[in-house]
Symmetry: C2
Subunit: 241 residues, 2 copies
């Protein structure tokens, strides 16, 4: 998102409202990401698209030595500095398309539900690879290609079935969220994996998270994830060579 | 398939009839597989689920030094020996679940549209890994998890949309082909990839083949593959360590 939708005041306030209650991210995406976290003791973390820094302290609590949160939204970074700052924590307002302007060396590049907004995935991966130490981990989640495939962004449910179209055709998708236009980029699962392999990473693990019975009791709409996954999570390791 | 459906005479003759015309496999799966073939000069090939050995001579023409075709169907192996034998070519009737009884060392393990019939994918991969030389290639195609997901085996098309269900739930699926019951095993794409990684392979490339305009002119029903891929193709390399 080059003009960041989170810098639209009405969108931002509605988004922050949504984050107050338990949701898909809390019950499905975040547990999935946590299950694939490497050991963090003494490690440096970069969080790509950190939002308001809601996980900064969680990384330090897990032993990380430093945390750099990056987001392109002025609102998000201001909120992050106010609410989730502290020793070992830094924030930087930067568009992920402009990562080439950043130097540093990190052990973990973490990114939650942002990569489907990025048009040039290969450039992003090249930059992340450069910012990682040899053997460093890239752990990211994004909307599943099932969800990004259709031109209308999401597909539709019909009974227990989920319908989508245009999966092979990659590129720009426009959806609506709180009445605002949100642009995403659809890539086939194969393209995502090939780009990662082609940019100096080994795929370590892929997750299409499935909700637990407890999670469904907490949030019944998670039942849809028993039909088709909402999220894709990938853990890859930077080549040592 | 432990009791091989291809050993049912009526099924076998209908299948052989189908193979006479251009079909999905010829126009989409086979070109995709060929595009990922490694250099074959002087290499030994094992073809897992070789059918009637229709590609045996193609491998030798591409420079392979030897070809071993394996299939569990007596009909298929007899036909392969009759029609597609020759110097450097061997056939063996063996169920892919029983690969542990085979020894040998191969440079390429090739398998076309068979792995979705195999219940124990990890055991299969372990056996293939053992049969490959270090750095050897596994190249296989299977029905795409979109297709194997629904309990009815395939999903359904509605207009330009494809609908499926039960993607997260792995396991046995029963479908019909020429009125015969055919049992397949659904695995999520993430599970397929993780199993490959966990059994001593690096993923080199994944393909969800898209039909060319020429192919669609030849066989208009291929248009459905512009909605959702029918096939998944994976090329992986055996770890050198």
């Amino acid at each position: 998102m080059s003009r960041n939708v989170f810098d639209n005041p009405s969108f931002f306030s509605k988004y922050m409202e949504l984050r107050k209650d338990y949701n898909h991210n809390d019950l499905l995406e975040h547990p999935g990401m946590c299950s694939l976290l490497p050991a963090l003791k003494g490690k440096s973390v970069i969080d790509l698209g950190c939002g308001y820094g809601s996980y900064a302290h969680e990384f330090l609590d897990r032993g990380a030595s430093s945390y750099l949160g990056i987001d392109s939204s002025e609102n998000m970074i201001r909120r992050a500095m106010e609410d989730n700052g502290g020793e070992g924590i830094e924030y930087l307002r930067l568009n992920l398309d402009d990562l080439s302007s950043l130097s540093g060396s990190f052990d973990l590049a973490y990114s939650s539900l942002v990569f489907h907004y990025i048009e040039d995935f290969d450039r992003l991966l090249k930059n992340i690879n450069r910012l990682l130490n040899p053997g460093g981990i890239l752990l990211f989640s994004q909307m599943h290609p099932f969800v990004t495939a259709s031109p209308s962004y999401n597909g539709y449910f019909e009974g227990d079935y989920f319908a989508f179209t245009s999966y092979p055709e990659e590129g720009r998708r426009e959806g609506r969220w709180f009445k605002e236009k949100v642009v995403s980029y659809h890539r086939r699962l194969s393209s995502i994996i090939n780009s990662i392999s082609n940019n100096g990473f080994f795929i370590e693990r892929i997750l299409e998270p499935v909700p637990s019975d407890d999670a469904i009791r907490e949030l019944p709409s998670l039942e849809k994830d028993l039909v088709r996954p909402t999220f894709l999570i990938v853990r890859a390791r930077k080549d040592y060579s």
